[in-house]
């Protein structure tokens, strides 16, 4: 009997979700057993005296707005009293008798239900098949503050917040060009999250925008509750641990990316802005680079590249040299290593792998605990356990130093995702070096380069401009930073419609 894995049938999305005309009863059925669903009869006096029904979701609307903008004019407006019919009153209200900025005439149950969820209230008129929808949402949100995860020394401190509309407003304040386009897609069957695509018309390659919007439209998931819910659907993330989308909490960095010709993505509920396409060099640039002097920024970028190589290869090189290629070690250093490894019972490769693992465990423990306890764990783990292990001859000081240097070098990466990917490859390279020495490490490095060369972010090769000819001044944007007045063009790999960015 052949075993067949049971697979669930695809569940097609129902469009519209709630069919039928918009009625109070229909809404009550949609929001049955919902304690926050409220309907309130409101008497309209005058020639068209009748009882209107106001529906809203408690907590989603601001009560003052309902009272002041809707209920007060209904009770006090003389013009409404003189309307001969309910339809005439409805038309007058839509024309401005009620004070709300946002008003819409709704006819379908689906529209009405989603309006209520979005913080609108619905006003039903007896005998009418339509209802008026007024925006009275609470707009409660965290205030704009400095980004916590990206230190700002010199630069804007208005970091992104959870509200996508606030974030788009922040972007508009930085990029006042009317050409800024904001395309919105709703993603998630249950969360119905607004995902905004931002770009500059006439500057950004439209194919990039189209590709991103297409991929967003193709997403059919339950909800957007984490960053991965979008990231993993718009790039081939399953194939690689390396990040293919850049994120930032800093609005100035986000806007600089848009002005460079990249496409931005803002997700409601997530206080981050995403920039696509992103190549390896982007993840080695710190937000501070553009604020520092060009010489300092270039030196720091080179240092980061050096640290990237160090964190990747140092443990592997140590294992290879100590186990296979002892002639590569200077004599006095070799003598010191031998002295340090005296009476240590484990092989060097095993020692390195165990310590790398211990380093990861310590880091994970420090992250999961509250900050004050996390620091204590790091100190106890790093200093006390480390020195005790060395004194007990369980690990050698040389290995401890190698792993610590590799770990600290990894912390210089501006992107946590890149740092994580490097950590995974660091293990792999150390394993290969333990099996075959430098041959293994070099084979692993070759595999890494092949892997990176095969990656693309929205059609842009990941190793641009190192492995791909990307035109003049390509290296300005990822490797070296020349004085800004000398950098005349936008990155050619993005194929912007307007290459020149300054006079």
């Amino acid at each position: 009997m052949r075993y067949e894995r049971e697979r669930t049938a695809p569940h097609p999305r129902r469009e519209p979700r709630f069919a039928g005309p918009l009625t109070v009863e229909g809404l009550a059925e949609v929001f049955a057993h919902c304690v926050d669903f409220t309907r309130r009869p409101v008497a309209l006096e005058g020639e068209s005296a009748c009882t209107l029904t106001l529906c809203y979701l408690g907590g989603m609307v601001r009560m003052e707005r309902v009272s002041d903008y809707v209920l007060r004019p209904l009770a006090e407006d003389g013009g409404l009293r003189r309307c001969p019919t309910a339809a005439a009153a409805m038309a007058r209200m839509e024309a401005g008798a009620l004070y709300n900025l946002g008003v819409a005439r709704r006819t379908t149950l689906d529209q009405g239900a989603f309006d209520l969820v979005d913080g609108w209230c619905l006003l039903f008129f007896p005998g009418e098949r339509e209802a008026l929808s007024f925006f009275v949402g609470t707009e409660e949100k965290r205030s704009v503050s400095a980004p916590e995860n990206e230190t700002v020394l010199k630069g804007a401190r208005d970091g992104f917040v959870e509200s996508v509309r606030t974030n788009t407003s922040i972007v508009r304040r930085h990029l006042k060009a009317p050409e800024l386009r904001i395309v919105e897609e709703l993603v998630g069957r249950q969360s119905v999250t607004a995902v905004d695509v931002l770009y500059l018309e006439g500057l950004t390659n439209p194919e990039l925008v189209e590709a991103l919007v297409e991929r967003l439209r193709a997403i059919d998931i339950d909800g957007v509750f984490a960053t991965g819910n979008i990231e993993e659907y718009i790039v081939p993330a399953a194939r690689t641990p390396f990040p293919l989308v850049q994120y930032t909490q800093r609005s100035d960095r986000f806007c600089a990316g848009l002005a460079e010709g990249r496409v931005g993505l803002l997700i409601d509920g997530i206080p981050l802005g995403y920039l696509t396409p992103a190549v390896l060099g982007n993840f080695l640039q710190a937000p501070q680079d553009k604020s520092s002097g060009w010489l300092m920024a270039t030196a720091l970028t080179l240092l980061r590249y050096g640290c990237m190589l160090l964190t990747l290869f140092l443990p592997a090189l140590y294992v290879a040299m100590v186990t296979f290629h002892q002639e590569m070690i200077p004599t006095r250093l070799a003598l010191s290593i031998i002295a340090a490894k005296e009476n240590v019972p484990f092989r060097s490769g095993f020692e390195v792998l165990v310590l790398l693992l211990a380093f990861e465990i310590l880091q994970e423990a420090g992250l999961r605990l509250p900050q004050s306890i996390g620091q204590t764990v790091s100190i106890i783990g790093g200093l006390v356990v480390g020195s005790a292990a060395v004194e007990a001859k369980i690990v050698s000081p040389a290995v401890l130093i190698v792993v610590a240097i590799a770990g600290i070098a990894g912390y210089t990466m501006p992107s946590q995702e890149l740092s994580g990917a490097l950590r995974i490859w660091r293990f792999l390279l150390a394993l290969l070096a333990g099996a075959a020495g430098l041959f293994g490490a070099v084979a692993g490095a070759a595999a890494l380069i092949i892997h990176l060369a095969g990656l693309e972010s929205f059609g842009v090769p990941y190793l641009t401009p190192f492995a791909v000819s990307a035109g003049r001044e390509a290296r300005e944007h990822v490797f070296l930073r020349r004085p800004l007045p000398q950098v005349k063009d936008r990155p050619p790999a993005l194929h912007p419609r307007n290459r020149r960015k300054q006079r």
């Binding site: 186990t323 002892q326 003598l335 010191s336």
Partner: protein, 363 residues
């Protein structure tokens, strides 16, 4: 695709279980050996032992620890080294040998065998410094040095101090091999056989064997001819003048062929020596300065001539004089490199000494 990958992975795992897998892999992968299981040999001594050789290895597995000496005897160096491997618990690793010491007896018999061993061995390096032990054996010298510390430390200190002396220099196995291949003669620094391992001039090698020693003035002359004088102090006493100590700071030599008609009759070494007044009465006057220069030139010329006389007497171009002359007169290259015999040529020297102004205002 997934099935293919899963199949390949399973096959790889089964290969390891089959028993033949590890052997196959061992052939493909380099051999692993932990560094702590090794004893790093830092100095290797080779002596003649009848028809065979006696090899002495000096190494310290730990920094600052007492030097370990291991010795082995056999007909060939390889077998002697192999016999030494079985003597201790650690693997003797020759990848860090920094100095190769050859005893006088072996050197007179021929240096080709130990140099060829260095050339062929996978662990040893051609950059290893070569020394000849004068009036004794390498084993004795290393044993004596081990009592006072380590032969490697002493020789490393000697190599680092080469710049402070003018009668020795470091020569690697590669240098000597290249010289022997090029002109059939070479030289290597000599050491005393006592525990101090002090420099004792140079041993002159011809056709792969030790034929003589350049010591004293001749050793100083070797450095002058090869322009390897970074610091030397020469005491001079010009006639009718107060004596002085001159610090030689630079020496540049060229070799010029001397032809009579179309026949090569000699080689002339032209050397320019620069010095400072280190001690003595000021040399502000031109006459005194000239007298000091003349005295210095005379001294240095004597040293160079001593080195040249050795080359003439042994008929060994151990200093590469012909090649230097060929560089200056490339149109006589064939005559100089293929036909010249140093024993039949007149070797002369001309030295120009320059006394530079000192830091003192009085000159």
């Amino acid at each position: 695709m997934r099935r293919v990958l899963a199949g390949a992975l399973t096959a790889a795992l089964l290969l390891a279980l089959s028993g033949c897998g590890p052997r196959t892999l061992t052939g493909l992968l380099p051999y692993a050996r932990e560094i702590e299981d090794m004893e790093l040999v830092r100095t290797l001594g080779v002596d003649g032992d009848g028809d065979g050789v006696a090899v002495t290895a000096s190494g310290g597995a730990r920094e600052g620890e007492e030097t370990h000496l291991t010795a082995g005897r056999a007909d060939t160096i390889s077998v002697a080294v192999l016999s030494m491997q079985s003597q201790g618990s650690s693997y003797l690793y020759f990848g860090h040998v920094g100095q190769l010491l050859l005893g006088e007896e072996l050197a007179r018999r021929g240096v080709s065998e130990p140099l060829d061993y260095v050339l062929r061995d996978v662990e040893m390096r051609l950059e290893t410094a070569l020394y000849l032990v004068r009036d004794g054996t390498a084993g004795q010298a290393m044993a004596a040095a081990a009592e006072e510390g380590s032969a490697a430390d002493r020789l490393e200190a000697l190599a680092e101090d080469v710049g402070l002396t003018a009668d020795t220099m470091t020569r690697s196995v590669k240098d000597v091999l290249a010289d022997l291949e090029d002109r059939g003669a070479s030289f290597a620094p000599a050491l005393t056989a006592d525990g101090t391992l002090t420099a004792a001039g140079y041993g002159i090698l011809k056709e792969g064997a030790l034929v003589g020693w350049a010591e004293g003035e001749a050793a100083l002359g070797v450095n002058l001819i090869l322009s390897r004088v970074d610091a030397d102090v020469v005491e001079v006493s010009p006639p009718g003048q107060a004596g002085a100590a001159l610090r030689v700071v630079d020496a540049r030599s060229r070799v010029r062929p001397v032809f009579t008609g179309d026949t090569l009759t000699g080689l002339e070494v032209l050397c320019r020596v620069e010095a400072n007044l280190a001690e003595g009465a000021p040399a502000a006057e031109d006459s005194r300065r000239q007298a000091l220069c003349d005295a210095l030139a005379g001294t240095e010329a004597g040293r160079i001539q001593a080195a040249l006389d050795l080359a003439h007497a042994l008929d060994a171009d151990y200093l590469g004089l012909c090649r230097k002359a060929a560089l200056l007169a490339p149109w006589h290259r064939r005559v100089l490199l293929e036909e010249a015999e140093l024993g039949k040529l007149t070797l002369t020297v001309r030295v120009e000494a320059v006394l530079q102004r000192s830091y003192h205002a009085d000159g």
